[in-house]
Symmetry: C2
Subunit: 241 residues, 2 copies
């Protein structure tokens, strides 16, 4: 009998160093909204998404390669950029065959951290590509670390709920000895039929909806499989696997 | 109308720096077992508990003042010490009028971190003194940070469940804009009538029960108000308030 691979959930970028990222599939999770936006752009035909850590770098790279510079700071389009971090912004007519150069407060930063800590297989996930994430994980048969981006290192529930959704589907295939994963799956199982009704309780909901009116973004980010592609990180770019 | 004080939950010592500890009541939570042991020792008549960060220091101080050196590393009595971190060890005949000098893997370390980060009011809490903690918090009318000790910076559910128990009782008196607190209270509300049945799912349960056979410790640590005193940190010591 071979033992099952392990699965852990990191609830914040500040906890990522506690987990062994090498020889694991690392799933970057930033439901509101970076990893929903990445799924949306790739689903609608983007050639690739290049995650970068600063606005200056997004502008520089996009100029060099003729890409679309985009990004968000504190929930709104970053100064100096024309495009933000809304998954609904990247409809096919805009993004098809284009390269999106994206910088965000939490998600792209977490991806960089995972690289720095020796991750060799990185994918990105959110509810819009839940099934693609699960299918990839099952096929790989490796250990898994579900990395929640949170908000400026604080725990948030929407990323945890997505981790819980993955665990809910796949838990029988893994050895899970991790209270974070147990909690994530419990929270998801309790709310899975009502994610949209639950959302107004989230701190991030207030930021996005009450300040910026982005209720349609929330709806998209919490809907299963509406942009069901698998973004895999390869040589500096997220591409469809 | 005056606004309500705020309440936040820090899920790991590695997240404590995200919260403003000054002018707050900071609750140190290490259910298995430091803060249960502290409640037990003080309830059974200890003069005070001196939390220290190393075994060497526990031995040195206890020699100087004629106290009882005690502590735990990785779940068992630390090498060189006669007494460990079991709340059941500190019955009245042993501890009355004595000073306990205690060092533990997580709880005493978190207390030191809170001091380093400018906390001025620190109490310790676990299920055995849940009501005393809640009564103190209500009387103080200050902001509250519930600090979970976790396990070597990893999230654990038993500390989170205690945070949830406090929130469950007191939430109407606070402004709570914190996903950690929302999660903690949800997990507690779901399991409150069955904490002992839930416990075998916790990673720490395996460490304590399967490796060390400490089921009676677990039972004590999860029972409300069996050592209902309020340990308050004052000039290097935890004393009954």
């Amino acid at each position: 009998m071979t033992s099952k691979p392990t699965l852990h959930t990191s609830l914040s970028p500040a906890l990522l160093h506690l987990y062994d990222l090498s020889n694991s599939v690392v799933v970057i999770i930033d439901v509101f909204r970076a990893t929903s936006t990445i799924a949306s752009a790739l689903y609608n035909g983007a050639k690739c998404v290049i995650p970068v850590d600063s606005v200056a770098r997004a502008i520089e790279i996009s100029k060099n390669i003729g890409g679309i510079a985009a990004g968000e700071r504190d929930g709104k389009t970053a100064e100096g950029l024309e495009h933000g971090n809304s998954p609904l912004e990247y409809y096919r007519e805009l993004i098809e065959n284009q390269t999106l150069v994206l910088t965000t407060t939490n998600g792209t930063r977490l991806l960089q951290m995972a690289l720095d800590k020796g991750a060799d297989t990185i994918i990105s996930g959110s509810f819009p590509n839940l099934s693609a994430v699960c299918d990839y994980i099952v096929a790989e048969k490796k250990n898994v670390v579900l990395g929640c981006a949170g908000w400026k290192d604080r725990f948030n529930l929407e990323d945890t709920l997505f981790a819980g959704a993955v665990i809910h589907r796949l838990k029988n295939g893994f050895t899970i000895h991790c209270d974070s994963s147990l909690m994530a799956e419990t929270m998801y199982a309790k709310n899975k039929n009502n994610l949209l009704k639950f959302a107004p309780q989230l701190t991030h909901y207030h930021r996005l909806v009450e300040r910026f009116g982005l209720i349609e973004d929330i709806r998209f980010c919490l809907t299963d499989d509406v942009a069901n592609v698998l973004p895999l990180y390869k040589e500096g770019k997220l591409v469809v696997h």
